[in-house]
Amino acid sequence: MSGGTYLGMPAFPRAAEAATRDERLRANLTHATHTIRDKRARAVAELPDWAELRAAGAAIKDRTLRHLDSYLERLEAAVTAAGGQVHWAADAAQANEIVTRLVLQTGEREVVKVKSMATQELGLNAALERAGVRAFETDLAELIVQLGDDLPSHILVPAIHRNRREIRDIFTERMGEWGRPAPEGLTDEPADLAEAARLHLRQKFLDAKVGISGANFMVAETGTMVVVESEGNGRMCLTLPETLISVVGIEKVVPTWRDLEVFLQLLPRSSTAERMNPYTSMWTGTSDGDGPSTFHLVLVDNGRTDTLADEVGRQALRCIRCSACLNVCPVYERAGGHAYGSAYPGPIGAILTPQLRGVDTVLDASLPYASSLCGACYEVCPVAIDIPEVLVRLRERVVEGGEATVRGSRVRIRPARGHAAERAAMRAARWALDHPGALRAGQRVAGRMRRLQPRRLPGPGAAWSRTRDMPPLPPESFRSWWRRTRGESGEAGR
């Protein structure tokens, strides 16, 4: 009942192919991504200094990453001084072991959780379940995913692949197994579904003794943790329990309190397209009589230092998980979130997952090809991550092999030539090229502005692709080529 697992996911092209055949999923995704995309553009246009905020956001993150060791030590000292306890985990197994031990020490067997990509990445819920601890997800979307025994498919809207009728059915069938059942005669009106979730979860919040969260930002200077949310379930998990355990990737640290002025402007507008999200909680250690009396911070590496070791790939660690890159990505729109096979879907997943895990699985080798390099993701990224640049870099690694850091050690990755990985990569590349949305967006390449990062194109990946078995770019328009080669019904992108 801990939800699905990403392990054993098929490589990107196969999963993507299945997703594109699913009409409803695609319709849901197209509607959702286009809606948020337009709203985001309006929210960003309100700020005349957006470019400067973006540059500052990138600069602060770069500065932090270049001196990550000292900022982490400073953070640890500040959190400890404020009454918190800091734990370190080199990998997922250690992180899960620490959290499980901390929960068991309280004597509790149930915890409430606020959405956290890090714990999803770690597979924490499954680890807790093995130790006899039930973790209740409390974000509406995460609840839908958990009750449906499913996997999240979008960073911001994890249940984006479910429509209201499916959600009604999941609530009606499954809520009773987890706690308060759904009300009799539940309709599929979003307001009624939200009310059902409110009633179901309220019992859990009021009884909860242990809360588990992630964090959007951690301030090294003050030891302050920041969680940005909409529904109020975050506030519930952060303030009502006696014990709070926050599980956070080491890259989430920012140097100073003042730096929040940049990210609290960049994140809400990029993510939910709001001037500000409904609720932001900030806390520093523990406070007498207000909120949890015990606070644990678990700092997680799990591949982040491997990512840090690559001078080009390092920039992926600037990511503030806003999901703007997903919403503009033609490949994501077609393929859906599950095809990326990790907690991180879309363009950011295509560069983060292979680096966090090392490109030694067939899926991870195919991810850097799950893109048409159109650059739309770079344009919207609030911290200016040059995703195409990192993709090219990772393709180079798949194809030519070379130095990489895996679990802290320098290793030579062997080229994927002739292996399953290469074939999967090729299929992913072909898949991306085979989809008209992907190519339409590719036409933007010529006009894009690259103010913050030097361009490293075409890169070895492109040279390689010329000599390999891949359909050459047709001289005719992609649409007509598509119709000609795939027949009339192909235009929808199947």
């Binding site: 509607h31 948020i36 200094d49 400067e52 540059a55 500052a56 500065r63 270049r66 001196h67 990550l68 060791d69 734990h87 985990a89 080199a90 974000d139 509406l140 979307a141 809207v157 249940a159 209201r164 959600i167 979003p190 307001a191 939200a194 409110r198 309220r202 919040f205 009021l206 003050t222 302050t224 909409s230 529904e231 109020g232 379930n233 506030r235 519930m236 303030t239 009502l240 080491i250 140097p255 309190w257 003042r258 002025e261 001037r275 500000m276 409904p278 609720y279 909680s281 900030m282 806390w283 520093t284 009589g289 207000d290 909120g291 590496d301 230092t305 840090l308 001078e311 850091t405 802290g408």
Partner: protein, 213 residues
Amino acid sequence: MNAREVVLGRVRRALADVPREEDPEREPLERGYLDSHQPADAVGLLAENLADYRALVHRSTPEELPGLVARLLAERGAASVVVPAGLPPEWLAEVPREVRRVPDEAADTARRLDGVDSVVTGCAVAIAETGTVVLDAGPDQGRRRITLVPDHHVCVVVVPDQVVDSVPQGLRRLDPARPLTWISGPSATSDIELDRVEGVHGPRRLDVVLLEE
């Protein structure tokens, strides 16, 4: 080696390309963005942005305030209201005696608060450009949970004193050592087909009173 040493060691090895003498404290960071977007009427903008995110905004003089608070509680049919220890008593002067006053106490449980209808608080600062009120658990605001569990929150902002233009100005007024809650409209979700629904777990109704002193 413990995990801490392992992680920090990996970080240091990963940063072999960073010159040892590089000192981030000595290099000022380029902050080309604005400190404020200079709204002509910060209080007006605050009201507009709060309303845009479905908070109910009211303007009041000190004389009108007790009547307004009483009316807002009555509209919700509130039979009980949480009162932070430092709330000015006159704010509730016209709330009928039958409406039970619940003090904010450390020993209180979330379950007990769940039975209370409304809460009235002040705030620490309000940010016009984003339509945000920030609570810092000050005496007129109380513990974080009292503005979370009841379904109705009345928040009084003293204008123009407590209003700043922008996020940078807001952060400068706040003390990071205090527990902070930034509130921009009532809780909401867009998780079901991206339809925005107000009110999931936090108070479903947020009344903001702009008190002109």
